[in-house]
Symmetry: C2
Subunit: 358 residues, 2 copies
């Protein structure tokens, strides 16, 4: 019987309560598919700061190293926002995990589910045009990690600087990830850059063109980041896979997520070359609704499905979860934020949605 | 009688035809306000490449130096897109003019006009919530111009790099511009950054806070660029002035422009510390509709109004133009792209709209 081990990092805010539902679903998967998914919980984020003194304790990192994948909840909240930047949950835990495990390949799907078009901030005809985008974001290089980065000088001439930097190798591996994803989808990659201004973008474009030659069944086009933010609003259905650098992917993936109007449904995967990965919901820790049992667990549950698919190659189990989610949405078992104001009293709570998916 | 001289750079695509309408309006302003607006035309962009061999000929630059302001049309088109990057119209002309004249302060208003909400790609309730944003973008520094920028190494380890760089002085002067603009508007500045990742953003935030102390009547808040692209979609009416670095302003201003759904109405100003400026429509050269007499001249005309206001201090004349534009829109004298598909036969052409404003 196949066995896998999962480091479960629930984190802050709604993290623990939505993780509970993901765990229920994984329990059901174990039974149905006769596999063992050993899960060990570790503290992370603000909770870890409070209990262990730091956002990513050594034992948590070690636990992640020993696991086949990390199932991550969400971290951060106003309580820890006054800490020095380097100690805050998002930086100290998330950016460290990304770089420690070389999780360069970040997949962020954004899709407007049939029946939920009304949630989108876009005009009805645009929301109904069949929007299903996968943002493939480079996650361990670019201006996030490029050196030098710092501050120099004095008085009004004091200046700060950051370095955007990409090697061909770094660009190639994320481009390959995007093309491979496109092969399994609608066969189109749109590479986002600012090649009319940035040297890194010019190299990016060149390497994307090189990689495209190995994927004759996938179409490649290029778009400037400024135009991309416009087209996502005007005609998001034109996009299949959007290939982005770290900074541009941060921007594009959030705009795409918002465009769906249902952030609580969006999972994400961050993987390295060995298939190890961190899986987390696209939304944040939502401290305003934490503890009330009304948070949407679907993004966490779909993140678990991505984990089964990409880190454990359990495609049948992943398919089963994804189908159960669609069925649950179609049946109208929805948390409150997915319902129009005047239908909120019909809302299901966090655990009812989890049960339905199980 | 006051006299001003204007370098008129009509450029490519729809540039010349919309400039003709702006000139008509400026003729009317001369008469009504008893001033002289001496205009001299100079070649720029693709047209200048074809006729003079370069996108920004020396005589054009000299003509701009001798003028009080530059009224700019639009440049570029597929014909020149195969040239080496450094020679292409956008880079060779626009970026050079910005840096040559130190046009650091770029004002890009984006507003959804009452009655034209249907053009917005946003949901009706959002489009009708009273959207009127001014993006104040730093235009001569940041990652556009930061050194070093280039390419090194070989094979797969070859890498490219760009430097994002800001001094306190550079941040302060654009922040002051944003606060001054907010004082004349709704008294709110939202500074856009990525301070959780970028050293330049941290300095940006600090200086914005310092400047805020000198403007007790203006409220300041900060937003991350990723969240900004979401909020512009979800609730754009929350923004008054958005203060942005060069790259983030490029992205945010285009998203805001698209959100209005009426790019043909949006002007922009790029100014230096001496009040000299370049004024141009937010939209591009639109080669697909050039020469047909159907382009919307309003963005060009409102750019001329901004020129009168900011470079010539002719506020009455600027007010008069802006009022005439609003009256023209209210009267329904509209170019085709502002009308629903089924009412396109009622469209006015470029010169009819110009005449109405005159
Ligand atoms: C928290 C922050 C550093 C992070 C990022 O910018 O990558 C977040 O916005 C994200 O997109 O995962
Ligand atoms: C043409 C290009 C270099 C330019 C920019 O990025 O600044 C344009 O997008 C703009 O916003 O004026």
């Amino acid at each position: 019987m196949s066995q896998f081990s999962i480091a479960v990092l629930a984190g802050d805010g709604i993290g623990p309560e939505v993780m509970q539902e993901a765990n229920k679903v994984l329990d059901a998967v174990e039974k149905k598919f006769s596999i063992t998914l050993n899960r060990t919980e570790f503290p992370v984020g603000g909770f870890a700061i409070d209990t262990e003194g730091e956002a990513l304790p050594a034992k948590t990192l070690l636990g992640c190293e020993q696991a086949d994948a990390i199932l991550f909840g969400s971290i951060g909240g106003p309580k820890w926002d006054t800490l020095p930047l380097e100690q805050r949950p998002e930086r100290a835990a998330l950016l460290t995990l990304r770089s420690h495990f070389d999780l360069f390949s970040n997949l962020r799907p954004a899709r407007i589910y049939p029946g939920l078009e009304g949630l989108s901030p876009l005009r009805e005809d645009i929301a109904k045009s069949g929007v299903d985008v996968l943002v493939v974001r480079e996650l361990t290089s670019g201006i996030y990690f490029g050196q030098p980065k710092g501050r120099e000088g004095e008085g009004e001439e004091e200046f700060a600087y950051d370095t955007m930097r990409y090697s061909k190798r770094e660009i190639r591996r994320i481009a390959v990830a995007a093309f491979e994803a496109a092969q399994k989808r609608r066969g189109k990659v749109t590479s986002v850059d600012k090649a009319n201004v940035l040297a890194t973008s010019r190299l990016w474009r060149e390497v994307a063109e090189e990689v495209a030659k190995d994927f004759p069944d996938v179409e490649l086009d290029h778009i400037y980041i400024d135009n991309a933010t416009m087209q996502i609003m005007k005609n998001p259905a034109q996009f299949d896979v959007m290939l982005c650098s770290n900074l541009f992917g941060d921007i594009v993936s959030d705009e795409c997520a918002m465009m769906t109007g249902s952030m609580g449904l969006l999972p994400s995967a961050s993987m390295n070359e060995d298939g190890f990965g961190l899986y987390e919901p696209a939304g944040g820790s939502a401290p305003d609704i934490a503890g009330q049992g009304i948070a949407n667990p679907i993004a966490q549950i779909l993140s678990a499905a991505m984990m089964l698919r990409f880190s454990m190659n359990l495609n049948d189990a992943a398919d089963a979860i994804e189908k159960a989610v669609v069925a649950t949405l179609e049946k109208g078992v929805l948390t409150g934020e997915l319902l129009p104001e005047d239908k909120r009293e019909q809302a299901s709570n966090t655990s009812q949605v989890g049960d339905e998916i199980v």
